[in-house]
């Protein structure tokens, strides 16, 4: 899965055409680590229609905050660079993420 950071965020996400989902995660976030394999699987399954990226907030905190992300895990969906939806919370499930993905197919 594509890794994004403050260097390439603009190019890969904000200037990208179509739908992009960014998985904001951190090493101290158990829920993020738990969901990561599911997100990787979604990237495999839906990767031809949606671009999937992950962002480790370490070193990218300001970038995350500029995207109004201040809690993990966070899954943020963009369409043509515009933020459309944001799923978050430590009870976030793989099913909820997949449901949201399907809205953009």
């Amino acid at each position: 899965m594509l890794e994004v950071n403050k260097e390439n965020y603009e190019e890969e996400v904000l200037n990208a055409e179509g739908v992009v989902m960014v998985d904001f995660w951190g090493e101290g976030c158990e829920r993020c680590l738990e969901l990561m394999p599911d997100v990787e699987a979604f990237a495999e399954e839906y990767g031809d229609k949606i671009k999937f990226a992950k962002l480790n907030i370490k070193g990218n905190r300001r970038l995350a905050m500029s995207q109004q992300v201040m809690g993990l895990p966070s899954m943020v969906f963009y369409v043509d660079g515009e933020k459309k939806s944001h799923l978050s919370g430590d009870e976030l499930t793989a099913e909820e993420i997949e449901e949201e993905i399907k809205k953009y197919l």
């Binding site: 101290g28 976030c29 738990e34 905050m65 201040m70 809690g71 895990p73 966070s74």
Partner: protein, 399 residues
């Protein structure tokens, strides 16, 4: 038909893993179901482990990882699965996971723990992931040199407030009680008081979360005066206790008024025989890793005893074609010993089964045996006659 285990443990936190160690070490065929890929429960999100006796240099996540290794060493099978449905009555119990897999066992231990309670105030859900948090270790990184509010005053709230001071420039703790009163342990209170970054607002609750995109204001309400004030902040951490995870058993098991599973005794037995509750999910005084581990041990041993008694009873009493005399006795009861003695000496035309009421309370309770010696005559699984406290000469007549 799926494999039949001796024990299924639902939940892989300290209680579940400890039950797994004890059950599998007792040679019980044990399956542990955990909804997350990583077992360990709540301590996987803690930092330090300060109060588990004998554990000085191990973090909480490391400790529960060791729990897991210990359980697997004795043969516990661990599978990923979130239990959605149960069938607990009867001798063979079954649980079904969200993905439709059914597992069967003679006994079930519920150890699903508890999850953070939501406050339910305006803006709380809206700002989830945008400054409202229930997990300090997940989100602390965002708040370096920023100001945060912690709502709550129990152990978790105060521990997390102290943890957050490593990141935030200021931590304001909102306490519902009078000045100087907190639910947290004294040692934590003292640490909080002596921490320069921590301030307190007493007699108050969080009324509303406000912001534009991200949290910028906590609206506090003084519960004495009713007055509300805006506190400017960048994040709000809510630690106001936990709620038990009991969705999948709330129809079947007796719960207390707060939703925790009621147990009948130190065996941690619920209202359904062969079903036990261990750890934070049950009604109890102290919810700590050590008491969860203790629960797991007790529940596993009780489950083992239950299985042994049930199997014995099934095989020797209910499934036999002979007439069975069941003598309830106790090593401390003279008369009962004499009755046993007499029964063993007469040439019986029936099979004799002895039940030590001190060890086996289950069968005694099921057949309403309150006094010993009692002798039951059972044919085809049904009680056809009973004598309580018989004189020795009456025994001949009875048989």
């Amino acid at each position: 038909m799926s494999k039949k285990y001796d024990v299924i443990i639902v939940g892989g936190g300290p209680a579940g893993l400890s039950a797994a160690v004890y059950a599998s070490r007792s040679k019980l065929d044990t399956l542990l179901l955990e909804q997350n890929r990583k077992v360990g429960g709540q301590p996987t999100t803690y930092e330090e482990m300060e109060n588990y006796p004998g554990v000085l240099d191990t973090t909480a996540p490391e400790l529960v990882k060791n729990f897991r290794e210990h359980a697997e060493k004795f043969g516990t099978e661990i599978e990923r699965g979130e239990v959605k449905d149960v069938s607990l009555d009867g001798r063979i119990k079954s649980v079904t996971t969200k993905d439709g897999k059914e597992y069967r066992a003679k006994s079930v231990i519920i150890a699903t723990g508890a999850e953070p309670r939501k406050l339910g105030v305006k803006g709380e859900a809206e700002f989830k992931g945008k400054g409202v948090s229930y997990c300090a270790t997940c989100d602390a990184d965002f708040f370096v040199d920023l100001e945060v509010v912690v709502v709550g005053n129990g152990n978790s709230a105060i521990e997390e407030a102290i943890y957050l001071t490593k990141f935030a420039s200021k931590v304001t703790v909102i306490v519902i009680h009078e000045e100087g009163v907190m639910d947290a342990e004294k040692i934590l209170q003292e640490r909080a008081y002596s921490n320069d970054k921590i301030e307190f607002v007493w007699n108050s609750t969080l009324e509303e979360v406000k912001g534009e995109g991200l949290v910028d204001t906590a609206v506090l309400k003084n519960i004495k005066t009713g007055e509300t004030t805006d506190l400017s902040c960048d994040g709000i951490f809510i630690f106001i206790g936990r709620v038990p995870r009991i969705d999948f058993v709330e129809e079947e098991l007796e719960l207390n008024e707060n939703g925790y599973i009621e147990v009948n005794s130190e065996r941690l037995d619920t209202n359904i025989s062969g079903v036990y509750a261990a750890g934070d999910v049950r009604d109890k005084y102290l919810r700590q890793v050590i008491t969860a581990a203790s629960d797991g041990a007790a529940a596993a041993m009780a489950a083992g005893g239950y299985i042994e008694e049930e199997d014995y009873w099934q095989e020797n009493v209910l499934e036999t074609e002979e007439t069975v005399l069941v003598a309830f006795w106790s090593p401390t009861n003279e008369e009962s010993l004499e009755v046993i003695n007499r029964l063993e000496k007469i040439g019986l035309d029936a099979k004799l089964v002895k039940i030590d009421t001190y060890k086996n309370t289950l069968v005694s309770e099921r057949y309403d045996v309150n006094e010993i010696p009692t002798v039951l005559k059972i044919e085809d699984g049904e009680v056809v006659d009973r004598t309580v406290n018989p004189k020795l000469e009456e025994i001949n007549e009875f048989i």
